[in-house]
């Protein structure tokens, strides 16, 4: 990664993961274990993937408050709902595609319709699952969760942000979906960053184009910004980690300052961040929106870096789309 990463990593803080390169799922596992120490109401459910989702640490520290439901995601969603009805704060984890796809109707009927205080924290979102291939690469989860009434949808960009997201959603009342990744990501959020649900982080405002990204694509957007600068193009960058509710204020500001918006996400271009941004701006401040993401297809096996390149999710792809669209 570029010079920006080194800039941030000079100020590392091991306790809150700022400035540290790590997988967001690892930050989740640590954050959950910490939360368990201070809040007895936190309970955790997993569907036979606790080693991968990183809920295992919590399970070892607090075995009475950990429930492995086995390979049954639908039952897990319902059981989490029941636990919330007795005042517990359930975190239910498995891979993103199973969490949201297999159990979608349970999440709709049981969790969202009754507005239950359930935290669905899924790992292995997107292409960077890598070698496991298309069956395990969730490119639809954000669309599936975003469409549900009462649901809040969050995609943190790095370990530091993940830790804050987990702490925040534990306090928030209501259904939340948090999407995390398998692979290590560089730190991107500044050391003084404070996460708030529905509040985007503006790294910098641009005058030509605004790059709106979340998850792993935030670091790609920041790299693209630096490359564009050399080409004489002034790009702003926003981390829209909460997809729902959208930070509409930040969007209106960006749309009024730059004539092009480019969204970037590790998800289908249909229904996720790009969809949400396009929907809002077309109604409220029409401006050209281009979307970086997977273009209506399944993934495949390969190294994460190979896949990101093949499916057009690199900083170079962002640069290209900006140059071609301005």
């Amino acid at each position: 990664m570029g010079s920006r990463t080194q800039e941030v990593s000079e100020k590392t803080d091991k306790k809150n993961f700022s400035g540290i390169a790590m997988a967001t799922r690892d930050a989740y596992g640590e954050a959950l274990a910490e939360l368990g120490k201070t809040n007895d109401d936190i309970v955790v459910l997993d569907a036979d993937l606790s080693g991968s989702t990183k809920t295992r640490k919590f399970s070892q520290l607090f075995p009475k408050r950990f429930f492995n439901i086995g390979i049954s995601e639908q039952d897990m969603a319902g059981t989490a709902g029941g636990l919330s009805l007795t005042g517990k704060i359930p975190f239910a984890s498995t891979f993103a595609i199973f969490e949201t796809g297999r159990a979608w109707e349970q999440i709709r009927q049981t969790v969202c319709y009754s507005n239950l205080n359930v935290k669905l924290v899924a790992t292995h979102g997107g292409l960077t699952v890598g070698e496991d291939g298309a069956s395990h690469q969730s490119l639809e989860d954000l669309a599936l969760m975003r469409v549900l009434p009462n649901m809040t949808v969050i995609v943190p960009a790095d370990g530091f942000e993940t830790k804050q997201v987990i702490d925040t959603v534990a306090e928030y009342k209501g259904p939340v979906y948090v999407r995390l990744g398998r692979s290590k990501v560089p730190p991107v959020m500044p050391a003084d960053y404070i996460f708030k649900i529905g509040k985007a982080h503006v790294f910098n405002a641009g005058t030509d184009v605004t790059l709106i990204a979340n998850g792993i694509m935030v670091s790609a957007a920041l790299e693209a910004r630096d490359i564009l600068k050399d080409k004489g193009i002034d790009a702003g960058v926003i981390n829209m980690s909460t997809i729902k509710p959208l930070d509409t204020e930040a969007l209106l500001e960006a749309a009024s300052k730059t004539r092009l918006i480019v969204t970037a996400e590790e998800h289908s271009i249909i229904g996720g961040l790009g969809g949400a941004v396009a929907e809002f701006l077309s109604e409220n401040h029409p401006v050209k929106v281009m979307r970086i993401g997977v273009r209506d297809s399944f993934g495949c096996s390969g190294k994460p870096s190979e896949l990101l390149k093949f499916f057009g999710l690199t900083s170079d792809d962002i640069v290209k789309i900006v140059v071609n669209s301005l």
């Binding site: 309970v43 429930f67 039952d75 319902g78 059981t79 029941g82 517990k88 009927q109 049981t110 009754s114």
Partner: protein, 280 residues
């Protein structure tokens, strides 16, 4: 609000079941749509739960020590509404608003709109998982409250029911009591024709449950099973209640077509007469 009278007296409970049936028929006729058969078939079990077995306080629906009732077969909403109204959760006159715009009495139960409904249901197969979650939470909080979950027999064709059946057994949820309303009818016909569920008792036993098989219309057997289930430790209990769909009104009994249609004004008259409610 008048104090809720509860009793194990069989005559008393039969009378409550009769009143529940009358309320169901009246509200469904007024609504003009809804599920008649499956509401009537479970009326005796629900009368025993609300007027005898369950600890609950109608004027304090969120009372922490209450037992929980989850209507997994959410289409029997009129049955739940009748039990809630007759035990004093809300005024009986509200039953006339069933399924109407702006009514808290939705076509299927909504916990956000109506006090006494623990969780919204209506999509089949989900209630037992919710019940298990409640049971786990109650155990964590050292509560003695129990969770009762009413399922339909067609409903157990849903795979999630068996996921939940494993979970309850794996976590030794002896505070869960499932009740399956075995009326042998589902929308498209007899369960045995649509999708065979037999042998039901063997299935639940194989999943690690203590099984009670009763006549779901014999109040003595219902009371006895509910009492016995409470004494079963380590295992969850299931009461397989053999019932007649549409029970209590001869013109509706065992008729598959009365799953999802309501009585006409004329049929209501006949029905009420049979239930000893003349001149209504």
């Amino acid at each position: 609000m008048a104090e809720l009278i509860k009793s194990s007296d069989i005559g008393f409970l039969k009378e409550q079941a009769r009143k529940i049936r009358i309320a169901i028929l009246k509200m469904l006729t007024e609504a003009g749509s809804g599920h008649t058969g499956g509401s009537l078939s479970s009326a005796d079990v629900v009368a025993a739960l609300y007027f005898y077995k369950m600890k609950h306080m109608p004027d304090e629906p969120k009372w922490e020590l209450r037992d929980r009732f989850i209507l997994s077969k959410g289409h029997a909403a009129p049955l739940l509404y009748a039990a809630l109204a007759l035990t004093g959760y809300f005024d009986v006159s509200l039953l006339n608003t069933l399924r109407k715009f702006n009514s808290p009495l939705q076509g299927h139960p909504s916990s956000k709109l109506l006090q006494g409904v623990e969780v919204s249901t209506g999509s089949l197969g989900q209630g037992l998982s919710i019940s298990n979650g409640m049971a786990l939470g109650l155990k964590l909080s050292n509560s003695n409250s129990r969770v009762y979950c009413l399922l339909g027999d067609g409903e157990i064709q849903e795979g999630q029911v068996w996921e939940a059946a494993m979970t309850a057994s794996h976590y030794s949820l002896d505070n869960v009591c499932a009740i399956v309303d075995l009326n042998d009818l589902q929308i498209d016909g007899r369960c045995s024709d649509v999708m065979k569920i037999d042998p039901v008792a063997k299935k639940w036993a194989a999943f690690g449950w203590h099984v009670f098989e009763i006549d779901g219309h014999k109040m003595e057997e219902i009371v006895e099973a509910l009492d016995s289930a409470e004494r079963i430790k380590i295992k969850p209990s299931v009461i397989l209640a053999k019932t007649i769909k549409g029970k209590g009104v001869s013109i509706f009994e065992n008729k598959v077509e009365y799953h999802g249609i309501t009585p006409t004004a004329e049929e209501l008259k006949i029905a009420l007469k049979e239930l000893g409610e003349d001149g209504q």
